[in-house]
């Protein structure tokens, strides 16, 4: 590298968010807490997609009554829309499966509902 290392504030925040989400998913046993960890992971990835497309001193890429200045990139914002909808769909299916597992086995511990034993 020729220059120094740039201090990218938002990218380091994304890395810390993903690290916290992985710690939650590895070390908790309650099923609802696993779903919460997955939701934090999805939020971290959406934040990463948006901060990839920022130009310094830019305005929103919409021409209706636009203030003068250069515009930020519109393509990462379109990809983030799709990612948010997919996260909602995954969350709905996981929560309904947790309701079924609770009615079938009687507890929300992920160790007590293993199918293959022995």
């Amino acid at each position: 590298m020729t220059g120094g290392i740039p201090f990218n504030g938002p990218f380091v925040a994304v890395a810390i968010l993903i690290g916290i989400a992985f710690y939650i998913m590895v070390s908790k046993r309650n099923m609802i807490k696993l779903v919460m960890g997955l939701s934090v992971l999805a939020s971290g990835v959406n934040l990463f997609l948006i901060t990839l497309g920022y130009r310094e001193g830019g305005v929103a890429p919409i021409y209706t009554n636009a203030p003068p200045g250069i515009m930020v990139l519109p393509v990462p914002q379109a990809l983030t829309l799709t990612s948010i909808v997919i996260a909602v769909a995954i969350l709905a299916l996981m929560l309904s499966m947790i309701v079924h597992i609770y009615r079938h086995t009687g507890s929300t511990d992920s160790e007590k509902s293993r199918i293959m034993k022995g």
Binding site: A15, G19, F22, M71, P74, V75
Partner: protein
């Protein structure tokens, strides 16, 4: 397990410091889109033009995902009808 988690988070932070500096992304495709949105698609909103016109096929796939999720949730909560006789 704590050691492997610390190594993983350290790798993520190091990768975050080596991406391009924060305000200057490499952008040739987006410059073309910003210049030619109003003459090719006719809208004022560049984000809607990208979602529905330049990349409309991804929106079709996402509509399919939403439809599949709704079908799965409604199917999981059906009641069994008791047979009479």
């Amino acid at each position: 397990m704590a050691v492997s988690l610390a190594v993983f988070i350290g790798f993520l932070v190091a990768a975050a410091l080596l991406i391009h500096p924060f305000g200057h992304p490499p952008a040739e495709m987006d410059d073309y889109i910003i210049q030619n949105t109003q003459s090719e698609t006719g809208t004022n909103n560049a984000v809607t033009a990208v979602v529905f016109d330049y990349r409309g096929f991804d929106t079709l796939g996402e509509a399919t995902i939403l439809f599949t999720a709704v079908t799965g949730v409604v199917m999981l909560f059906r009641k069994k009808k008791k047979e009479e006789g």
